[in-house]
């Protein structure tokens, strides 16, 4: 069985203008949403308390909210979490009140209002921890970018490093744009997913670049655009199958992983879909425009010419 039996090279580079415009538009839209709507940071970043409780029967969040308000907890946000029996309660940081007090107060309020509630999870993050997580997340992101660029620059060429990192940042900004547009909760695990996308999606560019390098050696006369077209065509089957396989697992997480892995899997899904597109149609045109030539690739393995000198 084979999906992609492509006889002729697809002239990807001649679509470059169109694809770049598409990319640019989604990219700018994402940035627009990031600024206007902003990310819905989870309690890990903002500080505060999250309490997850489980009821034996379905529960209306409104009732629980009313029960909390009766007990004097007014700033809580109550939502169903995954199923109708589970509730998630978010409390903002209150100065001078510890998490222990907050969660106990919530539990007593809920317990007295209805049937037995089971405490599933409490997460309390103080303000200083939240700030640290934001800083550390930003450092990690920067480190990954620098590390990948350095590796690609050593392994290939700086033009490739720049092209790959632009393609990847494009993916990441788009993931963030989605999270901003839909106000999905951006948690630490989502950050982990974003960083994995960064590492994973750059693979695509690497595979194509590898092929470009090989083609430069093999086809001595072809132009740069032709060589890139051939490289993309030769690897497109693998690109789609690999991403398809990864996506199968990610879908499995989306379906079976429950609420805690839901946004993680969502971030990966967006990352994988845009990863295919960007590594093929964003990074390669950039390489072309940055002026990559044969000399940038094959210089390393041309043996030094023998020197002829007069014998003294």
């Amino acid at each position: 069985m084979e999906f992609f039996r492509i006889k002729r090279d697809i002239p990807f580079m001649s679509y470059a203008r169109t694809t770049t415009i598409i990319s640019l538009v989604t990219f700018l839209l994402s940035i627009f949403f990031l600024f206007t709507r902003g990310l819905a940071f989870s309690v890990e970043f903002t500080g505060g308390t999250v309490i997850e409780v489980h009821y034996a029967a379905a529960i209306d969040p409104g009732l629980a909210q009313a029960a909390l308000e009766k007990a004097g907890i007014v700033k809580a946000s109550v939502q169903n979490f995954g199923t109708a029996e589970d509730l998630i309660i978010r409390l903002p940081l209150v100065a001078g009140e510890s998490s222990a007090q907050a969660s106990t107060k919530v539990l007593t309020a809920l317990d007295s209002s209805s049937a037995h509630v089971e405490l599933r999870r409490v997460e309390f993050i103080g303000p200083q921890v939240g700030k640290e997580l934001v800083t550390n997340g930003a450092i990690a992101l920067a480190l990954v970018c620098i590390g990948i660029m350095a590796y690609l620059a050593i392994r290939f060429e700086w033009r490739f490093a720049i092209a790959a990192i632009i393609a990847n940042m494009h993916d990441i900004v788009i993931i963030l744009g989605f999270f901003a547009f839909f106000r999905w909760e951006f948690s630490l695990t989502v950050l982990a997913a974003v960083l994995s996308v960064l590492g994973y999606s750059v693979n695509e560019s690497v595979v194509v670049f590898d092929r470009i390098r090989e083609n430069f050696r093999k086809f001595k006369k072809a132009g740069v655009a032709e060589i890139i077209n051939n490289a993309i065509t030769a690897t497109i089957s693998r690109t789609i199958i690999t991403h398809g396989c990864t996506e199968m697992v990610v879908l499995s997480m989306l379906l079976f992983g429950g609420e805690s892995l839901h946004n993680f899997a969502l971030a990966l899904t967006i990352g994988i879909l845009f990863g295919i597109y960007s590594s093929v149609l964003v990074s390669s045109p950039i390489v072309l425009w940055l002026g990559a030539t044969r000399a940038h690739f094959v210089k390393s393995d041309t043996p030094a010419a023998p020197v002829v000198g007069a014998k003294s």
Partner: protein, 605 residues
């Protein structure tokens, strides 16, 4: 060309056998157990304790499945949770207060596997349930308290040097010492510099000098305060009877507390969250009369005193501000009875504490001292006994007007209540046990169904070669689980997600190889040459793409926190195992199948 030497097959086979052995313990699950550990360092863990435990169980006619002795205590495996509860009761009754008996779950790894050092993966709190706290030590408050205590040292030093003093007050992080004139100021300054080596003394103006802790003393003090707090937390956790608590320093002023498997999270928080410290000060006997107290109640408190109302003592009482001794100097406290058979609290003091206490009691016979428990900046008088005589040797008995319960409460507070510095919970994660079990099931399902989907696809799409790829992928998971079990790395839910993601990403290498082989075949290569070229050419690409993944994993490991770090560990190990399994193991299978045939007409791909 597609043959491996015999030793390569042997190495691969050995790796797989080892991986199976070390992954096996994960299949056996856990059995209920009780864990006996000493509450203080005085009690010993030895064969005698073990036989004590076994005797207690035999006496109570409780069947158990073997007891083991290790440096932390004795662990007894039991058939079910009912016998577990009974066993705990029986053992606790027979051993008494010196030991805690905690309920625990122990891996049901068969003895022969355990003998090989094989153990199941260590589950993080989000999978097994429990409590995680990150506590911040308030160093500023600790330092202020230390300086308050040192006002006494300043007075003593000047008294010994016979320099008259006009007053000592703490202002922020330094002490301001006032003298009558510049001559005494000079004398005093040099006396202080000589006597108080841990303080930096500088002159402020003609009649005043300031003193503050110097850098070395400050660092040492902070280290000690943190250690003391950790010790106190450990004592408190012991009171809780948690099986495998983790209490660790993080950074210079933070403590991590992890209590796996704790069911009663409210109680845990209550006991840990008690930010208490103890102070011993003198009752102001000159202002103990009804009139002074009444005035103090109206707000006219003598400047050197502090008014305490309520509390255990009940009546309002004026107590001097100067702290003579803190809970740090209390090495142990237990309940007992005095010579009249009345409930009493026996307190043992450290050497330094004993010396201070001896002097304090000599100077204050007939007066009352107060033991004050300070929680969240609010003091409460635990007890205010009269000093009958000078007490040497640091063994103190507090008795009179208390019930047995009072005595044991006071003893507990004295023993566990002393924090050198106030602490605040800045991060808390509590996972109920049912959520932990759910998380495991969800994680397992994600991996299982993801794997099956890929397996079906690979076999349909690449036929026999796809089958090899799938087998290599399965072996990759096996290697990953075996390594995680061997390293006893903490597995979290994001860690399981990383296993799933590894499955999804590791197949990339095999797809690359298979695609390459197809391409070579299309290019007119013989099957053997195609296999050879496919593996060889794909390898560089596989390496490149995994290195970038690895960089991302390492950054996550370095800067991630908690569960995310677990994700990073699994991701990184998964990358390493996947290179091996996808390239070497799958090649071995291909070679075994096709390599022997000299004339290979076609391969199933």
């Amino acid at each position: 060309m597609n043959r491996y030497s015999r030793w390569r097959y042997i190495v691969i086979a050995v790796c797989i056998v080892l991986a199976v052995l070390y992954s096996l313990p994960n299949l056996f699950g856990e059995v209920p157990a009780v864990q006996v550990s000493p509450t203080s360092s005085v009690a010993t863990v030895d064969q005698a304790l073990m036989s004590g435990v076994e005797d207690a169980l035999k006496a109570a006619k409780i069947d158990y499945q073997g007891a083991t002795l290790d440096p932390t205590g004795v662990k007894v495996r039991l058939a079910d949770t009912d016998t577990q509860l009974k066993a705990r009761e029986a053992i606790q009754k027979s051993l008494g207060d010196g030991y805690t008996v905690a309920l625990n779950l122990l891996p049901a790894t068969p003895a022969w596997l355990a003998g090989l050092g094989a153990a199941p993966m260590y589950l993080g709190l989000d999978l097994r349930g429990g409590v995680y706290f990150l506590m911040q030590v308030d160093m500023e408050a600790a330092l202020n308290k230390q300086l308050d205590r040192q006002t006494g040292d300043v007075r003593n030093a000047l008294r010994e040097a016979k320099v008259p003093l006009a007053g000592v007050v703490r202002q922020g992080d330094h002490l301001v010492i006032k003298f009558k004139d510049s001559a005494t100021r000079e004398q005093g300054q040099s006396a202080l510099a000589k006597a108080l080596r841990e303080m930096a003394v500088t002159n402020l103006d003609d009649t005043q000098v300031t003193a503050t802790l110097n850098q070395a003393a400050l660092t040492a003090f902070q280290g000690q305060a943190l250690q003391q707090n950790i010790l106190t937390l450990r004592n408190r956790v012991n009171e809780l009877g948690v099986a495998e608590p983790i209490i660790q320093q993080q950074g210079s002023d933070r403590v991590v507390v992890q209590l796996p498997g704790v069911q009663d999270t409210a109680k845990a928080k209550d006991i840990l969250g008690r930010t208490a410290s103890l102070e011993i000060r003198m009752v102001d006997e000159e202002h103990a009369d009804a009139q002074s107290i009444a005035e103090a109640m109206k707000g006219i408190v003598p400047p050197s005193d502090e008014l305490f109302t309520g509390g255990r003592e009940g009546r309002p009482i004026l107590i001097k501000k100067q702290i003579l001794l803190t809970g740090e100097e209390i090495s142990n406290a237990s309940t007992g009875f005095d010579q009249n058979g009345q409930p009493a609290v026996n307190v043992n003091l450290s050497t330094l504490g004993a010396r201070i206490f001896s002097q304090l009691t000599r100077e204050n016979v007939g007066k009352r001292m107060a033991i004050i428990l300070v929680e969240r900046g609010k003091g409460e008088v635990v007890t205010a006994p009269v000093i009958r005589s000078q007490i040497d040797g640091g063994r103190v008995q507090i008795s009179g007007a208390m019930t047995t319960k009072d005595a044991s409460d006071v003893a507990l507070l004295l023993r566990a209540g002393a924090l050198a510095a106030p602490m605040e919970i800045i991060e808390e994660r509590t996972i109920g046990p049912s959520l932990g079990a759910d998380n495991i099931a969800k994680g397992e399902h994600s991996v299982l169904w993801g794997f099956l989907a890929i397996a079906v696809f690979m076999v349909i799409y690449y036929n026999v070669m796809g089958g090899f790829s799938t087998a290599a992928l399965a072996i990759n998971v096996l290697f990953l689980v075996a390594l995680l079990s061997m390293m006893q790395a903490t597995l979290t839910l994001p860690g399981i997600a990383a296993i799933a993601l590894t499955v999804g990403m590791a197949i990339d290498a095999n797809v690359l190889i298979n695609e390459r082989i197809r391409e070579e075949l299309r290019g007119g290569q013989t099957p053997h040459a195609a296999i050879h070229a496919g593996y060889q050419r794909a390898f560089a690409t596989i390496l490149d793409s995994n290195v970038t993944n690895f960089i991302a994993g390492m950054a996550l490991f370095a800067y991630g926190s908690g569960p995310v770090r677990g994700f990073a560990v699994v991701l990184c190990i998964g990358i390493l195992t996947s290179i091996f399994s996808a390239v070497v193991v799958s090649r071995a299978m291909v070679n075994l199948t096709y390599g022997r045939r000299r004339r290979l007409a076609r391969i199933s791909i």
